[in-house]
Symmetry: C2
Subunit: 208 residues, 2 copies
């Protein structure tokens, strides 16, 4: 039932703008996909990604004014996945590292050493630097989520050009803590998308 063909999933991914409106994604399956996509790595394993899944007509209506160019995606997708970065993800450090000790993948000594290192590192980071880290990490998640969605038979479109101001509050999150990163539309594709041009690796790369 799932598409397990790596080349097909990854290399035939296209940005899909129009979806089959009759297809609903069960919330249980959405959580399953998210659990598969959060296997992406993150800085110090702090996992700063947070999500709002907009999958009701009321939610879509609230989201509409924030979407500038991608109204068809909002209108037709099964869900819009709002991805936020948590600027205070270090609060989870203790829980995450304790779990590693419990699972036997980290010694108590290593855990203590890591905690002693991580907390002051984070306390000394500027807000600008934390913003970089949560955007990088949340984007690693986003790419894996687009591929996991295809593994499950769905398609996506990564949307960056939305209005950020007030988006967090509108969906019940504190905007000081949670910064918007990307929105993914997810659903069963109706249009086929198209293969878009890429600059060749040779032009982008130097060897040293």
């Amino acid at each position: 039932m799932k598409n397990n063909n790596f080349s097909d999933v990854v290399f035939n991914r296209r940005s899909i703008r129009v979806y089959d409106e009759s297809i609903k994604i069960e919330r249980q399956e959405m959580l399953e996909m998210i659990n598969e996509a959060v296997k992406a790595p993150s800085s110090m394993n702090l996992q700063p990604w947070r999500f709002v899944v907009v999958d009701t007509p009321e939610g879509k209506e609230k989201l509409k004014p924030f979407i500038r160019f991608n109204t068809r995606q909002n209108d037709t997708s099964s869900a819009m996945l709002l991805i936020f970065g948590d600027m205070e993800s270090v609060e989870y450090a203790e829980e995450i590292y304790n779990a590693a000790v419990d699972a036997g993948t980290m010694s108590q000594e290593m855990r203590d050493k890591q905690m002693e290192a991580i907390i002051p590192i984070y306390q000394n980071l500027t807000r600008e630097k934390i913003n970089d880290v949560v955007k990088i990490d949340s984007s690693l998640f986003a790419m894996q989520m687009m591929l996991v969605a295809r593994h499950h038979g769905y398609d996506t479109n990564a949307i960056g050009g939305f209005i950020e101001d007030n988006l967090a509050e509108t969906f019940g999150l504190d905007s000081t803590r949670y910064v918007p990163v990307l929105i993914l539309s997810i659903g069963r594709a109706i249009d086929k998308g198209y293969e878009s041009m890429r600059l060749d690796a040779e032009r982008l790369t130097s060897f040293k």
Copy 2:
């Protein structure tokens, strides 16, 4: 020869710290992997990712002072892939959109409309906002590159905690234009890594 099992490639990826030092990755294969990974999407398809592949002893030696915690990766990997974001990627807009017209995936009219929209949008973006965009896009590339590497039989470690100042210049790039995003170590795994703990999707997600 390639691993085409999506679940294995994606869900069994681990951060690998120690690599088989006898394994060299041919530059041709590295470019092939990069060409597969740049199929990741980017904002307005501007593809702001740029790369330095450090795969010589001299290059590794120059990189050493920038690596804070991950010296084993630098010492043992086949290559360290330095990923930079190009703050002036809009310079490629015309070439990219002309190529879409040539390929028949975009009409001349749509191309003109898009160019008229994109150039002023970019000219009005703050440096802070462009920084966000290139870090998000380059991270989408990075995630896909980690998976493509496994498809080719290699493993990786995404490294964020390196010294950014002067990294671009040291490898021949203008630091005003090219901002460091991530470094990936790439090679044949010797250690097996370990499955690290993830916060459950239910705790990270709300539905609206």
